[in-house]
Subunit: 298 residues, 2 copies
């Protein structure tokens, strides 16, 4: 099937891949998700991996294929670098990396250099700048993108002017899979008194590496319920995440973009700081971003 | 071989086991270390695991076998509980758990209950109280026992009056084995400018989960040398450990007990806070502790 009118959007992460076949006006015709993250692609296997995706969509030949995420990292198809802050959507377009002229491009990441601070993002910039362009986010504000590596992103005049990464999701995963806390963290974390107590401690001037061990000690001594441990630990790490991300910012509203289950927990935690969370589904944001980039290119 | 005069001391941890055959006056006749930690012992296999040890020492039948460490935990031979703070060596003797009357005993741990704070130790109490009894540590002071779970122990009048656990070594191991930082942390950490910069950040009011990601970002952007990452990360976690452990204490001297490679790094970090570290080898401390307990029992 040849379709001159369709676009193929790919959000290609480390362990997973999502793709959307999009028609005129940004209408999603079909979507697909699989576990073919970049680490599963052999060197030299990128053309085949993209052909596989096209096959999923009945061998479509899209007018344009746009890719975002870790596919543009030093472990991906090509290391497409980073655009420095402040970065607007025009800066991403200017630095698109064309792996096939006028047909297949990878979006660059965004970096921050303020020695000794340094930070990088790859993927979130498309969501945030796209959502701003589509009117889903305001041109000035604070965006929180929770996940493996939570991003706190300051947007001003529609550009990313600064950001900070917090290793919250990854640390929780390490603790629940491999640490002495793993049996305690086997359950699901949920909002409630234990979660909120954790948030309170994490927001405070706490010593995180000491607080983590306390989770085990309290259960061993019968001072806390075993079934509350996952929610408390999640609250503790999310509280510390908020502390790092909010810093000295003065925003009353935080725009939380991501998976609905995660944004709900962050909204609950933000509520404890007296701030209001505006939630936006991450899929809508990434689609808006890739659509806006495509429109600029075509 | 029957030897009515010998004692068998065992420091039985989660993954490793050390044993000493001790003669009159506490003289070490022979020592042994293997990887038969408590997790390698099948349920019901404890008698055999101890017989195995005796066999290593030519089937000795010691007058007394004293065991300390995780062998007394809920995953060990018997859950022998904890003595509450303040705890002296007499409290450990009073609560020895005899698995074989007058012949084989497991030393209890020590716990702290000051809600919402709670903490536990199992093994370090023998080292600290034994070293105090043997005159290797003063009866009043602050002891730091670095490791997987660093313990900061306040001693007053020869008793443990309070302590705090910090999950430093375990967190470093999780990050270097399983995280996005693992390739950067493959090298050995050593004292030097990168280590000291990490200590400085860790001692400060930093957001640890954000600082950890910075390690990767700085290397990606060429702001820091890849080969410095392990030392910097180690410094960062040890700095945060000191911050948690020193808290509001006013000790000019900290007694650092443990493996010489680790105590050296902690001594360097303590030096940055203007405190003096007195180092004591952990093996000497555990032997002193078990010897003192044995003398009290016999």
């Amino acid at each position: 099937m040849v379709s001159a009118e369709t676009l193929l959007f790919v959000d290609w992460g480390t362990t997973n891949r999502r793709a959307w076949l999009v028609g005129p006006g940004g209408r999603v015709l079909e979507e697909h998700a699989d576990a073919r993250g970049i680490l599963s692609v052999e060197p030299g296997g990128w053309d085949a991996a993209v052909a596989e995706l096209r096959h999923v969509f009945e061998d479509v030949e899209p007018r344009l294929t746009l890719m975002t995420g870790m596919v543009g990292s030093n472990r991906g198809w090509a290391d497409v670098g980073y655009v420095p802050c402040p970065a607007g959507i025009g800066d991403l377009v200017a630095k698109l990396h064309w792996v096939e002229a006028d047909a297949v491009a990878i979006v660059p990441g965004v970096c921050l250099r303020e020695p000794p601070r340094a930070d990088v993002m790859r993927g979130e910039e498309v969501q945030v700048l796209g959502a701003v362009a589509a009117g889903l986010l305001p041109p000035d504000g604070l965006v929180c993108h929770p996940g493996t590596h939570t991003k706190w992103i300051e947007v001003a005049d529609g550009r990313i002017v600064g950001f900070r990464t917090v290793m919250t999701g990854e640390l929780y995963a390490l603790l629940s899979k491999h640490s002495i806390l793993s049996d305690l963290l086997a359950g699901e974390a949920a909002d409630g008194p234990a979660f909120r107590e954790g948030v309170e401690h994490g927001l405070g001037n706490c010593d995180l590496t000491a607080e983590l061990f306390q989770i085990r000690a309290r259960v061993l001594l019968g001072e806390a319920a075993r079934e509350d441990a996952a929610s408390y630990a999640s609250g503790l790490l999310i509280g510390a995440d908020l502390r790092a991300g909010l810093g000295r910012t003065r925003h009353d509203v935080v725009h939380v973009v991501g998976r609905p289950d995660l944004t709900a927990l962050y909204a609950a935690a933000l509520d404890q700081t007296g701030r209001r969370a505006e939630r936006l589904d991450g899929d809508r944001a990434v689609l808006a971003g890739l659509q806006r980039l495509a429109e600029t290119v075509l």
